[in-house]
Symmetry: C3
Subunit: 294 residues, 3 copies
């Protein structure tokens, strides 16, 4: 079964060497790990479960480099018969991912905007269309694109800390979530909640997010790993083939829509983001963030 609607659109090589191989003669540690600059991946062959940890401080923003590594890592696992499921979490305290890297969208060339947006699309197509079981272990705040990563998984567990919030807050920055962010959101929370939340750019503290199903459950931080593994075991108890076909049936319409309108969506993004008024909004937002820091 190929990922639904995901044609060979990828600009990265489809094959690469293992960054790390299982040392021979150590059957008691069946763990295989490979690391790049921004994402750490550990595959436990006995369970068939990989852990992908975002370690791109300070806030795991989805830069072009991050997205490229994300897609490569995900494809690596997708093609690895030993891997049946992936858990996503952050290695940076208090933040899961802050979403799309604003610096990639400010003061750059049209070509850069196009390349960046294609990478954002690719990330979503691969994650939302993954054949593996995908569980988001949301151990920190997760606005905008960070929320999209979580929404694209099969299941979302969040740390119950009310200081951690999640949501598609693009409107607060004066920008608009693209239609496939919206489609993914509607598929999780329904039309009404999506409409209101997207217009207000709402960020929800974890307990609020649970109430309307933006996340599936809350756990204390120290139980997150254990809970994610338990959920994964529950999903992996099902035969892969039936589960994958079912997942594809549920998500195909929405995936196909982006595949059909991909170039148009890139052009829309470029013409929107390069507007003077939008560039100004982004600059103000970045300045506000800088002041907040200092």
């Amino acid at each position: 079964l190929s990922p639904p609607g995901v044609r060979p659109l990828c600009r990265w090589p489809l094959a690469w060497g293992r960054a790390a191989r299982q040392p021979p003669g150590l059957p008691l540690t069946p763990c295989r790990a490979f690391s790049n600059n921004k994402i750490l991946v550990e595959l436990d062959e006995s369970s068939g479960v990989a852990m992908m940890k975002f370690k791109s401080p300070p806030v795991n923003s989805l830069s072009l480099d991050f997205l490229t590594e994300f897609c490569i890592s995900l494809e690596k696992l997708e093609n690895d018969r030993a891997c049946r499921g992936v858990i996503f979490a952050s290695a940076v305290p208090k933040i899961f991912s802050s979403g799309l890297d604003i610096t990639e969208m400010y003061g750059k060339s049209m070509e850069h905007y196009a390349e960046f947006w294609r990478a954002v699309q690719e990330m979503w197509l691969r994650l939302y269309g993954s054949n593996m079981v995908t569980v988001a272990a949301v151990n920190g705040s997760s606005p905008a694109g960070g929320c999209l990563v979580a929404l694209s998984c099969d299941y979302r567990i969040m740390v119950e800390n009310p200081k951690f919030s999640i949501g598609l807050n693009e409107a607060q920055l004066g920008i608009v979530a693209p239609f496939w962010f919206k489609d993914t959101f509607v598929n999780v929370v329904g039309h009404r909640i999506a409409e209101r939340s997207l217009q207000l750019g709402s960020l929800y503290p974890a307990p609020e997010a649970l109430k309307f199903g933006l996340v599936d459950e809350l756990v204390p931080e120290e139980k997150l790993q254990e809970k994610a593994m338990a959920v994964m075991a529950q999903w992996l108890a099902l035969p892969d083939h039936a589960r994958q076909l079912t997942k594809s049936m549920m998500r195909k319409a929405v995936l196909d829509r982006l595949v059909a309108h991909r170039e148009e969506d890139i052009q829309n993004f470029i013409s929107f983001i390069s507007k003077e008024s939008i560039q100004k909004s982004l600059r103000m937002y970045m300045e506000m963030l800088k002041k907040k820091k200092s």
Copy 2:
């Protein structure tokens, strides 16, 4: 940004004089008001918020005259740069709006039915597709078309009085809500609730309506105005452009559907409403209402 899917279909003049102008030299009262026969409009320029009050006793029924005034008033505000949001409420005690005026649908000519139905469509296209923030302050019962007005807004606050009810109860009169009433309803409460409620023609007391999201919150009557202003302020805190594009993205599919099938929908209405059996149902309903009154 033009209202999504709303072509220049309007039979009313697109420009008109102000019914009332701000008297010079009174900066402390930045309120501008214009009134017609059936709707009172007050625009507070300092906040950018207009109040539209339905004052067509006894029950604010949506007659052809009412709908015409509604559309003119709404377009006036839509084109007024000083206006960013509208609050809708009733100036008639206990009733928000009783919905479509049955007398417009009984014993009239085909031409009249066509003109009336076009006005109903126009009202919905303008309201559901409005670029302004729209808040329904539902201070009374709101059946059928009255419920549609509320459903077409961005947010619904209702007086917590359980004697006030709301719902699309067309089936109880032996008639069928058109597909775009249904689409609007499904977008708010989901498919299942819509299916059951439309078949049963259910009217829900305010506390019931809150439970499944037909209204967003309940307040005591004396707090309604204050709450509506607070909600409006929250929505107006977002940049207009991003909010408008987002709203359009959420509602475009459903608006486009009526625009594409508008004439067909008018023909359907005419042939349905002019059936002898339907005319008989309406007559019996009107007689029942008269008896109730006396």
Copy 3:
């Protein structure tokens, strides 16, 4: 009003004699009953309500014979002006229906698979598109195709016994619910619950099923009949014509989708079910069931 999207696809004769007729001269017992091998039908002419009781022990599985009887019985009632609503229940203790009969899907000819699948489709097209009010009185467990029968009704009442469970658990057998099972499910519980439940093949104990609207209410077993009659009376209080048109409006898109892709869906079923791996899964499942029994 003809059933929406249901063309004359039926392989059964459209007319047949009554299996039982009202004996003359007994006006106090207006009940008319006809029985076949697997389904008992009683029509109460005074109320216009028929009861269809599944009596195909041990588990009311949806065999080709059962489905054929089901469709004939349903059409008989559909064409009977005396009948306005049907209540479905089981005459077998503890089980409503166990769903599609696995023996029809194992070790048979392509022709048999095609005939069986066409009968499953026909059952759903007739039930989901019925002009009558349909109430499921779920008095036992109701997995897979049994759940579909309940989902296709207008209203679902379940016995509150937590030992009775309901859900589309196809994935647990290594098979995939077809798209129209999924569409029906999404229309009742929404996209998110459907996505998760279908992938996990979840069966929900009655109290869980109530929580997210998979069933509409729970009652003690001894109150089930009375409650089903009360619900039926509520639905029958509406004018048939308006209710039927409304129901058709809500369900037409999903019904039309199967009608448009019916032969394709049959071919998909045949090629899927005749796969060696799927046949093996089914054999293992049947062996497990046998062991459980002994």
